[in-house]
């Protein structure tokens, strides 16, 4: 009789045993990955960290690598450090080229304006024979960073060198996700300052 019942399961529905297994798997996922089932608030810790220092709170945004060069598709990787007792944040950034071409300035460009920041060299290393790793640093006013990350449309980052410039853009979906989270963190920092 039991077999007859199982054969009689309507099309498109799960047999009883399979349904129980799926429920168990979902329960296990909820138990072990609680952060996946809550809002984005808990995920903020994936984007930044903060430490108390003598001169204030030191915030650090983990490296973002969503910006890509228009032609070569090589990434621009940058992180942000900010000490609450100052008005400017330090932006350290890496870009990769087939030949050495030191940056002169970094330009943060939104649809409504741009911020030009002088770049200082940290190091230039040769990786994998033909890949030059350029690591530079610059300082940007926190208010300018807030303005940049508040941009609704995906912004651009330009690296200007002595003879050329490289334009880095971000996909709309990536900007919608990461830009808004960084913007919220900066807003939190400004509220605390």
């Amino acid at each position: 009789m039991a077999n007859d019942k199982r054969e009689g399961t309507p099309a498109g529905t799960f047999p009883l045993g399979v349904k129980r297994e799926i429920s168990l798997i979902i329960l296990l996922l909820i138990a072990f990955f609680p952060s996946s089932f809550t809002g984005s608030a808990q995920k903020l810790s994936n984007y930044y960290t903060a430490a108390i220092m003598d001169s204030g709170m030191l915030y650090f945004f983990f490296p973002l690598d969503d910006f890509q060069e228009d032609v070569s598709r090589s990434p621009l990787i940058f992180d942000i450090s900010y000490l609450s007792s100052r008005d400017s944040a330090t932006v350290n950034f890496s870009y990769f080229l087939s030949s050495a071409d030191p940056a002169v300035s970094l330009v943060l460009r939104t649809g409504e304006g741009e911020t030009v920041c002088k770049a200082t060299k940290l190091f230039i290393d040769l990786e994998n024979h033909q890949k030059w790793h350029h690591r530079f640093s610059t300082t940007v006013l926190l208010s300018d960073l807030a303005y940049f990350f508040r941009s609704v449309l995906p912004p651009e980052i330009l690296i200007k060198t002595k003879d050329s410039h490289y334009t880095y853009t971000i996909k709309k979906c990536r900007w919608k996700k990461h830009g808004s989270i960084v913007s919220v963190i900066i807003e939190m920092i400004q509220t605390n300052s």
Binding site: L24, I25, F32, D54, S55, L58, S81, T90, N92
Partner: protein, 102 residues
């Protein structure tokens, strides 16, 4: 039920694949931050990171040294160092070093 058991046993055995140094063990998922080192230097205004990753315990790549992290931010005086460990089902593991200094 048999399928679920096979899945759980599979997860258990995979957990031994991509192993990463961590103060706490989570064989299904781990995301742990912990202290690594402290110095007598005072003050910090810069932070640098470096990381290494492992896939299935077969391939492990990266430079997660304090030197690499300090170099990435131009840090010459280290204040303290934290580590951040992430692991998923023994399939993927990441070890990140975070250096604070000036």
């Amino acid at each position: 039920m048999k399928k679920l058991m096979v899945l759980l046993i599979g997860v258990f055995f995979l957990a031994g694949c991509a192993v990463v140094k961590t103060p706490l063990t989570g064989f299904i998922y781990s995301d742990v931050k912990a202290p690594f080192a402290v110095t007598s230097n005072t003050g910090a205004d810069r932070v640098g990171t470096a990381e290494a990753t492992s896939i299935l315990g077969i391939v492990a790549l990266g430079d997660a040294s304090i030197d690499a992290a300090a170099k990435s931010a131009g840090i010459t005086k280290i204040h303290h160092v934290d580590e951040h460990v992430t692991g998923i089902l023994g399939i993927y593991a990441r070890y990140k070093v975070v250096v604070y200094g000036e």
